[in-house]
């Protein structure tokens, strides 16, 4: 392997060869690239490479430390599984976009300086939008435009932050920063957009469900987790993040409950799970940061898995809406099994990865005596049991039979699901092995009797209320509708306001033009009165008169000059 080459660049360069291949060769190449990247990452170990100076700035293209390594590893796994899931796709645009997007996300994770980070940050934005546009319909086109505007805004804000930060500190190193200056606020906003902070979040729920079946799986793994990584690197222990995270945990869950589209339900749930990680970054203790890295990893596994199963339903049936699906377990039993496994992981059932990782964050909050915060996170943990844990398998796969039958998902999709589900469970079975990869070495006792009992209580009682609500009709009815969210502000109010303003401006302009024409007309009429045909100023006079006038003028001039 090439010494010090950023593993992400392997995927990006590989993407350029992809259009030259086809068939089986392309399939092998696509799958081989993340494996090569992973091999490069493992062979490098920890350290910094590719350092050089440009215009007085010290760049570090590759920097691997324990925190970035965890994110890099799971990004490679997600890229591999995502590509495996999309092997049936015969669309070169999507293949190239997937590799460049995954590669740039990996590249950004291993960026040692802010300029390198910015470069990869922007490439993720531009490459990923093609996975949305690849749906090739009007909705996805519009959604992609909104996505691109928001993503590129994040990049521009980041660039502004970098310029200010370099001027303030003289450094462009990507490292822990003291939060407070304007530069760091800009960083927080740039990272916050991609992390889907409250009110900056709508791009996730807007665009992910519009992307292709396979595109959503890929999208869900990288952008939001890259932002979590950037926050964890820059702002551990920043109190503000605790409260932002708490709002993030709570707000999306109501929408997730009401949402009819299963992929959009997942997008809301993903948002709530992001909140856990943002809170942990705000707490900032060693345990909490370990929790961030660990939970981000598991979160990628189960989020991808759930997007895979809902995507498989969409692929076979043409819809991912609760109101249109029915009895799918009869047609797609294996996919349904993976939906259940994914649900078990996401609700943090014992013997799954999230059981181990979520407790790190919850313990970190309790260690700091943040009881209210702990209760907020427990609420989030219960909400996800409802939103995804039960809702997706039950409403998506085990709902009342509507008589339609479909084929089981293709083998490569099932294999990809198996990779994600398998890892999610293996980590749960032996958390210590996985914890050894985390930034700070720690002792952990995941499987204590009280932890298992309390978590099972949480799950079982939540399921009980769900079942009771369903039987009594109290559970919200799924309808063919959308649920308004904050983007209503710019997609409706903002749009109307903009249209009104522009019509007022154009009306005003019309008035100005009319007034101008009237004024010109008045001036012409005036001029015609004095200079018009037959008027005083346009009359012809005899040459004798003219000579006399000139003589008088000369006389006046003479008098003025010589007297």
């Amino acid at each position: 392997m090439i010494e010090g080459l950023n593993p992400g660049i392997i995927l990006i360069l590989g993407a350029l060869i992809v259009p030259l291949t086809s068939g089986v060769v392309r399939g092998v190449l696509l799958l081989a690239l993340p494996v090569l990247g992973m091999a490069q990452l493992l062979s490098l170990g920890l350290g910094s490479w590719g350092q050089f100076e440009i215009m007085g700035m010290q760049l570090t293209v590759t920097h691997i430390d324990p925190l970035s390594r965890v994110f890099g590893l799971i990004f490679h796994v997600a890229a591999f599984a995502g590509i495996l899931y999309s092997l049936h796709v015969k669309d070169t645009v999507q293949h190239v976009a997937t590799l460049i997007y995954a590669g740039s996300a990996i590249g950004a994770v291993f960026a040692g300086d802010l300029i390198t980070l910015f470069a990869f940050w922007e490439i993720t934005a531009v490459s990923s939008v093609f996975l949305i546009w690849a749906s090739r319909n009007e909705q996805s086109f519009k959604s992609g435009i909104r996505y691109l505007i928001i993503q590129v805004t994040s990049g521009v804000v980041l660039l502004g932050g970098i310029a200010l930060y370099a001027a303030d500190t003289g450094s462009i190193k990507f490292e822990t920063m003291e939060f407070g200056s304007l530069a760091t606020w800009l960083f927080l906003i740039a990272f916050g957009i991609k992390a889907a902070f409250p009110m900056l979040h709508n791009w996730v729920q807007d665009s992910y469900p519009e992307a292709t079946v396979t595109g959503t799986v890929i999208l869900s793994a990288f952008t939001t987790k890259l932002a979590i990584y950037a926050l964890a690197r820059s702002f551990p222990g920043t109190d503000l993040l605790i409260w932002i995270g708490a709002v993030m945990v709570i707000f999306p869950v109501v929408h997730a409950t009401l949402e009819n589209d299963l992929r959009r339900t997942m997008a809301y749930s993903l948002n709530s799970q992001q909140g856990f990680m943002v809170i942990a970054i705000g707490i900032g203790s060693e345990l909490a940061i370990n929790g961030v890295a660990a939970h981000a990893t598991i979160s990628i596994l189960y989020t991808c898995l759930m997007f895979m199963v809902t995507g498989a339903a969409l692929y076979r049936t043409g819809t991912a809406k609760v109101t249109e699906l029915g009895g799918l377990y009869k047609s797609m039993p294996i996919t349904s099994l993976f939906a259940i496994l994914g649900a078990l992981i996401i609700i943090a059932a014992p013997l799954t990865g999230a059981f181990a990782t979520k407790s790190l964050i919850l313990s970190a909050a309790l260690d700091e005596k943040m009881i209210l915060l702990w209760l907020v996170m427990l609420f989030g943990a219960v909400a996800v049991i409802d939103n995804v844990g039960i809702k997706i398998p039950l409403f998506g796969f085990f709902s009342k039979d509507n008589g339609k039958r479909f084929q089981e998902a293709p083998l490569h999709m099932l294999l990809a699901m198996a990779v994600m589900a398998g890892l999610g469970i293996v980590i749960g079975l032996s958390p210590a092995t996985f914890f050894a990869l985390l930034p700070t070495p720690m002792e952990s006792h995941v499987y204590t009797a009280s932890h298992v009992v309390t978590q099972l209580q949480l799950i079982a009682f939540a399921v009980l209320i769900f079942a009771l609500a369903l039987r009594t009709g109290y559970y919200p009815k799924m309808k063919e509708s959308i649920t308004l969210d904050f983007d209503w502000i710019y997609r409706k109010v903002g749009k109307v306001a903009l249209i009104r303003t522009s019509s007022i401006v154009s009306e005003l302009w019309n008035q100005i033009k009319i007034f101008g024409l009237l004024f010109v007309g008045w001036a012409i009429a005036k001029a015609e009165k004095s200079h018009g045909e037959g008027q005083a100023m346009s009359r012809t006079i005899s040459s004798g008169h003219a000579v006399s006038v000139i003589l008088i003028l000369f006389a006046v001039a003479l008098v003025v000059i010589y007297v």
Binding site: V253, H255, K330, D386, F398, F461, L464
Partner: protein, 89 residues
Amino acid sequence: MSNSDNRTYWLDNPGNVNKLFYAVVALTVVLAIPDILALFHILYDKHPKAEMEEIPFFYGLYAMICMLVLLGVSNSVSSFLKRDEDYYD
């Protein structure tokens, strides 16, 4: 897509769905037992980090409260937030 097959699945029988429901109820009862044992320090002890965890059945009770709040809020904002699918078009 093919037409409906005539096989009857286990879940097609409403009686079995009821069975599943009672299984959940039974499970909650079983999971409440350790908290009762903990009250008398038999076999099982809690290791609370927060005072609240000492409340018997805390996790079960809190889960139920959270679910009721979530469903209550969802129901109450539903009519206010729901729009037709082509609302933005």
